[in-house]
């Protein structure tokens, strides 16, 4: 019974972090119809900035928002000075479909290897800001710790914040309109290019948060060639696809479904099958429900 509860709680926590990454991917997809494969590189960069902030300011709580701002700023730069130029130069021709995919991959490689050159092999790590020792309930120690509780509540707070921005503000209305129907939005006077950059910036911030929360939840180590961030990208992508790639609600649902599913595989089947299981769920969803579990119409709303 305790095992079951542990599995569920752990699944939800890691799923929440996948959701953040999925949200980042969905935000970029909705604003520019590009899967940003550099998202994990951008998250890595922001997490390093967060790490430097922790070194200087000795507070995770100040470093987290700073790294998110840095992530947003960097993403906005990438959109303005890289993606816009790319779209202009590859608007037609046989390469137009694959150019953004190739370009974001190149960017991922560029970020990782330049980070590697700058920070080298110095072992950076982010220690958990709160205890990672499990809560004790009537003599049993749960695998669910204050750190996981904090992670979960941070993710929920961020999602609520994003939902409020999207549903209740003028900016949110402009973001949604530009995503669904850019031409109509332009005719209504929305500066779609600028709004897209804001979409990228929000994605950059969400990715940074995913990186900052994922690192202390793993073994805390931070390295430019970390497999952790690659997996974050892949699981974020799978979560986004489960949610239909169009919807923020879908991204959250997709992340939680994936997190829970993988946690159960890990505890009840085998830890070594986690990746294969994730890959299978991706293929199954793509073949059976290509528009995501929520379907297109309902999924596209929020």
């Amino acid at each position: 019974m305790y095992q079951f509860i542990n599995t569920v709680l752990n699944g939800i926590t890691s799923g929440a972090i996948f959701s953040l990454m999925a949200i980042a991917l969905v935000l970029v997809w909705r604003s520019t119809r590009v899967i940003n494969f550099a998202q994990s590189g951008m998250a890595l960069l922001s997490t390093y900035i967060g790490f430097e902030c922790i070194q200087r300011l000795h507070s995770f709580w100040i470093a987290l928002p700073l790294s998110m701002i840095a992530g947003a700023f960097f993403a906005a730069l990438v959109d303005t000075f890289f993606m816009r130029v790319l779209f202009r130069r590859t608007a037609d021709g046989p390469i137009s479909g694959v150019a953004p995919i190739i370009a974001t991959l190149g960017l991922l490689g560029l970020i990782r290897s330049s980070l590697g050159m700058i920070v080298g092999n110095s072992d950076a790590s982010i220690r958990p800001p709160v205890s990672n020792v499990g809560f004790t309930v009537s003599g049993h120690t749960l695998a669910f710790s204050p750190l996981k509780l904090m992670t979960l509540s941070m993710v929920i707070a961020l999602m609520l914040g994003l939902t409020l921005v999207f549903q209740r503000t003028n900016l949110g209305l402009a973001l949604r309109a530009s995503a669904y129907a850019p031409e109509i939005a332009r005719l209504a006077g929305v500066r779609v290019d600028a709004i897209r950059t804001i979409g990228w910036a929000l994605a950059g911030a969400a990715g940074a948060a995913a990186g900052m929360l994922q690192t202390p939840n793993g073994n805390g180590a931070l390295a430019p060639d970390s497999l952790e961030f690659n997996l974050l990208l892949v699981f974020g992508f799978i979560a986004a696809v489960i949610g239909g790639l169009e919807s923020l609600v879908g991204a959250v649902v997709g992340g939680l479904v994936l997190g829970l599913f993988l946690a159960f595989i890990q505890y009840y089947v085998s830890g070594s099958l986690v990746f294969i299981a994730a890959f299978c769920i991706l293929i199954i969803v793509l073949l059976l429900k290509p528009k995501g579990l929520l379907g297109s119409k309902a999924g596209r709303r929020a």
């Binding site: 560029l110 590697g116 050159m117």
Partner: protein, 333 residues
């Protein structure tokens, strides 16, 4: 030269002559160059497989490094467990990878660009870590892939590197010759039709899904061959030989070659072989610190990828051709 390549006999003669030239060359250059020649041949095969997929069939794969790994493991297992002769090991690599490609391709045929890219990326990230967990695949250390000594009739001073080069360049020439033929066949036309306009192709009675699956399978078979060649040159098969960056490197090679045209493939392959050397020279002159040495090749490859996509998105060969066409129409006017 273009006219020679338009007939079957001409193509066969051309590639035979090319092979003879390479054979003569291999006797005159030093060991290191011969070894690089073998790597070059491997990259030519790998990049052609990607160009076939992206340029001619319109699908994109970020996971060809992983498919190369499948071929390499198949070749190594065939060698270790059954002791098959070398050429059969390579055939096993092609067959197993093509089969894996057919399975993947069935799913891939239904996916549009970004979905397929993400799925193959997931494969590239995950596959090496899967190899770590199965005893039969040798874990972190991987498997030994020893193709044995060159046959004795080649003489006592015939080195292993030269043997690698011979095998590599024969495989490469056969691949290119076969590709030239298949791209001119019914299949090649079908692939181009589906890439150009899927709906129109279907209205002409082409089964787009089958055509895409076939392209994915053929491309995977070639990637498997490239994987076995790579394993041959480094004598082992291990997860670390097929990292995510290998898939990126191949993509860079393909984009540099001009992703839609096969003839440029040599440009991409030469660049990929030269990059580590250039990186080495730069890092020795600059700082010679470990972090620079390990990361500079990756940095150069990614920077190259970005620059090419931004400035010569269709590849240098196509760019030149377009330039010539423009110049010609200009003089006519």
């Amino acid at each position: 030269m273009h006219k020679i390549l338009h007939t079957n006999l001409g193509r066969a003669l051309f590639f035979t002559a090319l092979g003879f030239g390479l054979f003569l060359a291999s006797n005159r250059i030093d060991e290191l160059r011969v070894y690089q020649g073998a790597t070059l041949a491997m990259f030519v095969v790998a990049i052609s497989s990607l160009i076939l997929l992206t340029g001619y069939s319109g699908q994109v794969s970020l996971g060809h490094g992983a498919i190369m790994a499948i071929g390499a493991y198949a070749a190594a297992l065939a060698r270790i467990h059954w002791g098959l002769p070398v050429w059969l090991c390579f055939s096993a690599a092609v067959v197993v990878a093509a089969f894996a490609g057919a399975v993947l391709g069935t799913a891939a045929a239904r996916l549009s660009g970004p979905y397929l890219a993400g799925t193959t990326l997931a494969l590239a990230v995950g596959l090496p870590s899967i190899a770590n967990q199965f005893h039969v695949l040798g874990g972190e250390q991987g498997l030994l892939f020893d193709i044995g000594q060159p046959p004795s009739w080649l003489g006592a001073d015939f080195t292993s590197y030269k043997w690698y080069f011979w095998i590599g360049s024969s495989a490469c020439l056969i691949t290119l010759w076969w590709l030239q033929n298949i791209l001119r066949s019914r299949y090649g036309r079908t692939w181009r039709a589906v890439r150009g306009n899927e709906v129109a192709a279907q209205l002409c009675g082409i089964h787009a899904g089958k055509s895409k699956t076939l392209a994915f399978s053929v491309s995977s078979g070639l990637a498997g061959l490239a994987g076995a060649l790579l394993a041959m040159t480094i004598s082992t098969v291990s997860p670390s030989a097929f990292p995510l960056s290998l898939s990126f490197t191949l993509l860079t090679g393909a984009v540099l070659s001009g992703i839609t045209t096969l003839p440029g493939v040599i440009i991409g392959a030469v660049t990929l072989v030269a990059t580590p050397e250039i990186a080495d020279a730069i890092s020795q002159r600059m700082a010679n610190s470990e972090s620079v040495t390990t990361n500079l090749p990756g940095l150069l490859v990614s920077a190259l990828l970005i620059l090419v996509v931004l400035f010569v998105p269709n590849g240098p060969v196509e760019q030149m051709r377009m330039f010539r066409v423009k110049a010609r129409s200009h003089t006519k006017n």
